[in-house]
Subunit: 221 residues, 2 copies
């Protein structure tokens, strides 16, 4: 049984990598930069995306895919608060998105003319990190209430993310969060990670992150 | 491919249920009550367990199994702060514990003489809910910073948990958390759920939860 499981997982990951490469090529040809956003439940993905999009939408045509196990809350919310087009992907219980699921969603979305496409992955600090979605870059969020030790406990998520955004920084005092320790823990997993600190509530730090994303889109499309 | 994956998953879950039943029977014969604790990363599992154990350890002999993908932080911390015996389980990247993994850990732990055994599962609001660990009851934690809408987005976790503990309640004002709405959302998933509200920081609510656990152990062993 054990061998069978490992073998099937290898097959799945191999198949997934192939699909992801195809998808990346497809989007590159259309001039679309694709960012996969990952985090624990409640880390502030939808809020950060809303704030980022509102800073970038005058320059780029943006689309958002919202993945959730159930519920239509996020897609509605993000469209209402930004005016950009969004669709909801239901994963039917699955804990992550595969490249195939992303591909199917994109087919239903009509991405022609977009400059920038965001995927808000399922809230999960483990499984989404295993599956290449076909994105150009992974952006992960760690919220202050989760604690500065999380890179030690969830290594893969931090290893695969070139952008790490520490969110809810206005609560650092309450949760005894040490930014220096957190940065060290993140860089231990990925020495090239770009680390940003934001507070959606106080509207701090989002400009700097938006400028970084802007450069990525201009260089990467 | 898709069929193969579904079939393998069915096999895995069926095999897991069988193992879980065996484990439950084994622990029942030894008079050990087994609680599986699940939550998102950083929801406060280790802290709550520490506080619960310190209230129950004079009456019961308690053991703790700490599951993590990597790192030995929690097992050390809980032993140091409670004096009870704990072991660390490394899942080698896996996003959940199976009954077999729990079984193997128990074999390495020597549970003879214990009254109460806790398992702190991997921080993940999705996958651990799919796998029966062989526990007598599932206790899940939802921290206030995660938001009161989480039962809508992560249905299975709330469906399989008879105890739902809302943690970090002292931060409700900051995060605009609505307890009434949260309770409704939890009960929508599981109408028999017992809901508790605790603040580890202010040491509020833990006594009531400890009394509930005490009764479960006395009735359930």
């Amino acid at each position: 049984m054990e061998f069978q499981v490992v073998k099937v997982k290898e097959d799945i990951l191999q198949e997934n990598s192939k699909r992801a490469e195809e998808l990346r090529k497809f989007l590159k040809e259309k001039g679309i930069y694709f960012i996969n956003v990952m985090a624990s439940p409640g880390a502030g993905k939808t809020t950060l995306l809303t704030n980022l999009i509102n800073r970038l939408k005058s320059e780029f045509k943006i689309g958002v895919m919202e993945a959730d196990i159930d519920g239509d809350v996020d897609a509605e919310r993000i469209s209402k608060n930004t005016g950009v087009r969004s669709i909801q992907i239901h994963t039917s219980g699955a804990c992550h998105l595969t490249a195939q699921m992303t591909h199917d969603a994109i087919n239903n979305f009509d991405v022609d003319g977009l400059d920038l496409l965001f995927l808000e992955n399922v809230g999960n600090l483990v499984c989404p990190a295993e599956f290449d979605t076909g994105s150009n870059i992974n952006m992960m969020l760690l919220s202050v209430p989760e604690g500065d030790d999380k890179p030690l406990k969830y290594p893969l998520m931090f290893e695969v993310s070139k952008i790490a955004v520490i969110t809810k920084i206005e609560t650092a005092d309450i949760f005894d969060f040490d930014f220096e320790r957190c940065r060290k823990n993140i860089l231990k997993r990925n020495k090239d990670a770009k680390i940003f600190e934001v507070s959606a509530l106080k509207d701090e730090g989002v400009d700097i992150l938006a400028e970084h994303v802007r450069k990525l889109v201009l260089e990467g499309r």
